[in-house]
Symmetry: C2
Amino acid sequence: MANINDIAKRAGVSVSTVSRVLNHHPYVSESKRAAVQRVIDEMDYTPNRVAVDLIRKETRRIGVIMPYNNNQAFDQLLHGVLNRSVELDYTVMVLPTKYDPEKELNGLHMLKNKQLDGIIITSRSNTWDAIVPFTKYGTIVACEYTEHPEIGCAYMDRYTSYLETFQRLKDKGHSRVAFSTARGEESNSTQLTLKAYQQVFGEIPPEYHIRDCHSMDDGVRAAQQWLHLDARPTAVYANGDEVAAGIYQYAMSMQLEVPEDLAIIGQENQPIGIGLQLSTVDHQLVKVGEQAFDLVIEKSKDKVEISYHIIERQSTQ
Amino acid sequence: MANINDIAKRAGVSVSTVSRVLNHHPYVSESKRAAVQRVIDEMDYTPNRVAVDLIRKETRRIGVIMPYNNNQAFDQLLHGVLNRSVELDYTVMVLPTKYDPEKELNGLHMLKNKQLDGIIITSRSNTWDAIVPFTKYGTIVACEYTEHPEIGCAYMDRYTSYLETFQRLKDKGHSRVAFSTARGEESNSTQLTLKAYQQVFGEIPPEYHIRDCHSMDDGVRAAQQWLHLDARPTAVYANGDEVAAGIYQYAMSMQLEVPEDLAIIGQENQPIGIGLQLSTVDHQLVKVGEQAFDLVIEKSKDKVEISYHIIERQSTQ
DNA sequence: CTGAAAGCGCTAACAC
DNA sequence: GTGTTAGCGCTTTCAG
């Protein structure tokens, strides 16, 4: 493959001149510029991006740390990131971790070894203390709120959102409210859910909280457990619309009326929830992803809150 | 940031020696190796990956060209790619195109400028003639079958799969069968669907084919059109389980019985289909993604067919 | 076993 | 305007 020297030689100019026309610098005579361009076209030359990155000390490439890619919520976040990256001519690397702290650290390491200019953490299993040191090597933005001044945040105010959702259910007269979460107490958002629940309803009956819910199937399983309880919940708050759909499905199979016998509300306004007319709280994850991206490339450490919307459809009327 | 020279100086050795210990070469005395390692640890040194890539002329990074990321099918493919990339210590870049030929070419260009060692094309809007020239710069693998000897393929035999599905419906006594596709005639898989349909049922009643279906909502819309037809279809083949779910939903709302009044079969064995007990044809997209990845890193031009499974559940019994 | 030196392909002072 | 030259940070002959 031809390199910049070949072009220079063939065009009868120096490499600087070639570099200048490549980078659209002013102060290149029209004649030389044309000559160089002709040779570039003739030889079908493209500058080696790795060499450019090496000398520029920047890659215009960012990484997105995410536990899974086959998950609606993370997919929305990624979608937001990708939206903006395309517009701003950045490139994005997906760094799947399955919540393995080791793999997360590997991702952060790419900041240190210059593969990446910045990183977006959509969810994590490392402590902030393990993560923060890497800010020395590049910008790190999280999709959750943290006090750490070195970390920019594009986040939804989960606590308030959960609080409002539970409060609404309470206001509708529900006192037996069950809920599901994606992970256990090690997760930030599970903790916020628990806290909000306690704030509204007091102590949590252990059987009202089911962990590790991701899919419609998980929703079905959760419903199986809840709906045969003596103190059957009259409302459930699912951690996603797919899970909510599973619950709905099982409730239907038991001939229960929704919302009369069981009110259901999910999260993230996913297609399935629209189809089933399930209420949901939309945390606008696409927007969060877009915002996170913008923070990264601005090297900003701002804390930007993205608003949420509670969308009431038939399942909680 | 420290570089290899700093380490060499401080350890009192040459850069070659440092490089040797970095790359675990034999023939380094234990004493020097230890000295170098100590300095590396002390200074918290990490080799600059960009410099390494430049000289090695390889990045261990591959790109995945995909129209959308917020789509179950492409997400499965990506998932497969990611699975294997993690195992084999490769890194993956997502290249979203929205079927813009220009953006696709941009992605391929990253092969030429050395940003990527290989590319997986999950779907495309360029012609092969526009794509093939890029094989000169790196490995290109497609997730569809093509004759081009320069292109490796990890593909599902869509034609046979569609054929078998339509045939099964015919065998069950259906003669009025409608179907949806994701795109129009410009798409390879739409064309195969049409061809298979014609093979089994002959001419296609235009109203039986609805394009641009992606979500549950699209399924609802499709059902609205089909189910009020005079010649109402007795079976539908949807191009995805979400779409199938939308159709199911609308059929329910019309008090139709599934499968008695309407048989429904979808594609890709997605969670929603499992929940709703919808039949589906599983093209094993995760496996396709994994296989595609393997082909790329082996620089293989093989054509590997991934088998499909028709999974009959309640909606076509 | 170890080091000197020649690049990889490019950018950016710095002179002219 | 244009060319010379010194790197960016690393790997890899090639001597010794």
